[in-house]
Amino acid sequence: MENTLDNVRSQMRKGLLEYCILSILDKREAYASVIIEELKSVGMIVVEGTLYPLLIRQKNQGLLAYRWEESTQGPPRKYYVLTDKGREQLAQMDAAWNELVESIQTLKK
């Protein structure tokens, strides 16, 4: 029982992860570690490895772009930014999310 519950929860998180990434980058551009920190602080990811394939995929879909920025300590960092297409997608996801929440609330009434 516990296993299936865990499974459902991780599936839910996984489905929302791309939405989360776009939301974080909507506030400000960030490099991977910052995105990871934020996702971890709200318990959206357990291991970091899951994030990298998503970032690259979203970049290749044209939702994100990145630029290199010099860092005071260490090599240049890859800063991810939201593109216009990404912003558009985020708006659609926001709508879809609100719809979902509403649906569930209606069902529970």
Binding site: S10, K14, A32, S33, I36, I45, V46, V47, E48, G49, T50, Y52, P53, L55, I56, R57, K59, N60, Q73, G74, P75, P76, K78
Partner: protein, 199 residues
């Protein structure tokens, strides 16, 4: 004392102990395999993912060892790989690890000449018999019985043992253990011994 290797990771140089290096290569290999297995991501994309991943590993190493040339040890690699996990969020050794371990035992055994060491892990006294047994590919028990018989026939056996004890190096590092068993020194083989040492 351990051998170290210099590697470049995310445009930085790091010094890794041998077993830490073996573990890290193994991890990266598992990650890459798993990446290829998930949702059909094209290959060019995978290369980018690996690049980002390596940059992150470099960052985490840097936080721990600082810039003053400290060495990356196995426990740090273990910690970092646990934190990073696999691309699909499942445990690393769920299936990919088993597959590659099976492959390595079949392909990477007995292709280079063995070297004679004392096998301290399986020692009774000084590991001489255990080492000889590995070298001659016979059972340790047979080797020990032979040695006891030699002892019964005067002191020759005793002196052989003492000389071997003094003359033979002890197989301590994963690389020496590979040598002892005649395995080529590959990341997988090193990792195999590194793990047994770590536990």
């Amino acid at each position: 004392m351990k051998k170290v290797l210099n590697i470049s990771l995310g445009n930085r140089t790091f010094t890794l102990e041998e077993d830490a290096y073996a573990r890290l290569s193994e991890y990266l290999k598992h990650f890459r395999t798993r990446l290829a297995g998930t949702d059909g991501v094209p290959n060019a994309q995978n290369a980018e993912v690996m690049e980002d991943l390596e940059a992150r590993i470099a960052e985490l190493f840097l936080q721990e060892v600082g810039t003053e040339g400290r060495v990356v040890r196995l426990d740090l690699v273990e910690r970092v790989t646990r934190q990073l996990g696999m691309p699909d969020g499942t445990p690393e050794d769920a299936d990919g690890a088993n597959g590659s371990a099976g492959a390595s035992t079949s392909t990477f055994t007995g292709t280079v000449p063995k070297r004679l060491y004392r096998d301290y892990d399986n020692r009774r006294i000084g590991g001489v018999c255990a080492g000889l047994a590995v070298y001659l590919d016979i059972d340790v028990v047979v080797m020990r019985v032979l040695m006891l018989v030699a002892l019964l026939f005067g002191t020759v056996g005793f002196w052989i043992y003492v000389i071997c004890w003094i003359a033979l190096p002890n197989a301590v590092t994963p690389a020496q253990k590979c040598d002892m068993y005649g395995y080529p020194i590959t990341a997988e083989n090193l990792a195999r011994f590194a793990k047994s040492q770590y536990k």
